[in-house]
Amino acid sequence: MSLMSLGIVRGFVWQIAGTIIGIVFAVAMRLMMGMSPWATEPVWVVAILFGSMGFLIGVGSMTDWFKWMVGIDTPMRHGPPKGKPAWTRYFGVDYNHKVIGIQYTITAIFMLAVGGAFAIIFRTELARSGLQFLNPGQYNTFIGMHGWAAIFAIFIGIGGMANYLVPLMIGAEDMAFPRLNAFAFWINIPAIVWLLASLYHGWDAGWTLYPLLSTRGEPGFQFVFLSVFLLGFSSILGSLNLIATMLMMRPKGMSLFRMPIFCWGVMGASIIQLTATQFIAQSFLMLSFERTLGMPFFNPDGGGSPLLFQHLFWFYSHPAVYVWVLPGLGVISEILPVFARKPLFGYRWIALSSIAIALVGFLVWGHHMFTSGYANSLRAPFMLATLLVAVPTGVKFFSWLGTLWGGKLTFPTPMLFALGAISVFLLGGLSGPPLALVGSDLFLHDSYFVIGHFHATIFGGFVFPFLAALYFWYPKVTGRMYNETLGKLHFWIMTPAFWMMSVGQMSVGVMGMRRRIADYDPMLGGMTSSGLSAVEIGQTVVTISAFLIAFSILLMIYNLLNSAEVGALAGNNPWRSRSPEWQIPSPAPEHSYATPIRVVGEPYDYGLPGSTYVTMATAGDD
């Protein structure tokens, strides 16, 4: 088997070729227009576009479409590749949603490690005041890289969970548009390549990339703009596919209110991704054009407005934070009933609260801009709308308590992570209102309090549930059990460490520690008798916690890799779940359901004797 038969290798080769062609093309164009042949930035912009296109063609994600264009039919579904080892299908274009789901998930874990590694590096720098081993330019690049790499991990991780689980949960054979699904996944790979490549030139405006800082300085910015643009493209196509799948492909008897609750979380998230993502794609394109063509959208010298960018950016990026959490909260709602052996309390309320959060989330973007200088009269409505999101979020929390109350709880690793997620997300969510109140936000804005707030919401709403999901569906994916002892160890290291990290960040924030600074005033918060100042103690605690978290995640990676070979066989339904995906063999077969399923009951009727959720029609049965 030659290396070039792996789609991803072909993709990279084509990406390099495309990049080179792009450079040549751009230089030729410049010469033709009578300009000097080389200008780093414009040439790279063209090269990035050509290179990305090259990857998508080379990997084979558009081959079927090209065939359709000239009238060649292709089979609707492809099975596993013939004459190649089974693992190769994970490294090339494959239309099976389970394969794509796993591809997404592995990529997400990789990006989490990349983002985490940046955090580990700059956290080490921050453990003490003074500049140790990073210079401020590197530091600024690293925090932006940390932010975007981690956010990539979130979007891709959500793609992983949604792609693997949604079709299984609604009993569909695959997604509505399998080719589009594969295409949406593969866009992420060139996006990641360009993001990592941006390190070479560097860029120093943080993940928010506010102009006018981002419209001057290093060419590294262009890599980030276009990389995020590609990621956004993937989000839009992926969410379109998910919504169509959930609306059109449910089996007989599964009304929307009988879908497994995770699907509602994905629905809320997808609505946001489908629509709001256009705004970030557009705002980053505008930045790119402002840099290359000098179009002054944001530069006041040409009549533009730096505030416009903030509006466009946050109109997407605030709703986006709910994209990050809604599927995760869905995972929590999915796991609790299984391990409490009780129905999900208030199914409809939980389902609708996801949609409510998604919709109200569109009205609150201004809370990131309380100090930005827009009209004072706008501050109050944004404040009130922001506080309003607490209401549907609260409904989820209280309904979870209702689910646990009176159950017969057991605590394997996924359940521990679900409960941990609740406590962590609660901390993050409750640190939202002090930020939402303009008065206290004028103090807390751009301080580490905000950093503490959003790490807690992100970990509680995405990272913990994502880990819970990894453990929970691991037996379905691999057919084997992970190591329970290591799993519990992971939990018991990570949760206290995360608590220390997040509260530590809030603590130094209140002392006056600003965001995005490589070095800080050691006198913040005053001296203590230990010879360290209060802020340094706080920073050291955060750094130590960061190392503990990283260690525990490495433990998990080891556990998951190792158990795939030595773990005990899991059987079809080790958790005794009612959800359809557990009624079929593990690992799930190529075409999931041998025959169409039919829904005959409520999804979470645990403890109701004789009730079933789905029946598998047998042949001849109508």
Partner: protein, 197 residues
Amino acid sequence: MSSATTTAEAYRTQLRMNRMGLWLFFVSEVFLFGGLLATRFYLWGNTRPELDQSIGLIVTSVLLLSSLSMNLSEKGLEHNNRRLFLGGLVFTFVFGLVFLVGVMVFEWGLFPAFYEGHLTPGENVYGAVVFAMTGMHALHVITGLAFIAIVWNLGRKGSYSPERHWGVESCAIYWHFVDVVWIFFYPALYLIGHVAH
């Protein structure tokens, strides 16, 4: 896309799904163009640049005509009138091309030797926004033209039947959508506000 082996039932299911997908795509696109409109109103408020009104009127009318010919073409296919079908596509393509050339040559001044444009993208917000809006729209027109060319070619080879022609249908809806966007862009660029530049 259809394969000869798929049953009528499977085709109908697939068709319903495809329609859903296309409309979801439009929902997304509405936000893209909405964002551009928002940018226009944020930056220009109640003003606008001096654009060539006759060019604007001409290209807009041509684009509307193209929607008409596209509609005729689709009707042609449904009634198995292949001449109308293919001819309609050709007309639509030509109208689309005229629109594109009108915008690029006259509004953008792409060939200054032939016609001087009124604005350049870099001079100020007026130029920037005009180029952003017309540029994004032109990108859609270009993809639409490519789409039409592909459909025409496949239609010529007889790939579509009155019963099965999702390719034609999606192409037509897409083209109408691009037209509708222009119906919003035209007044925003040419009519609303007083001339300030």
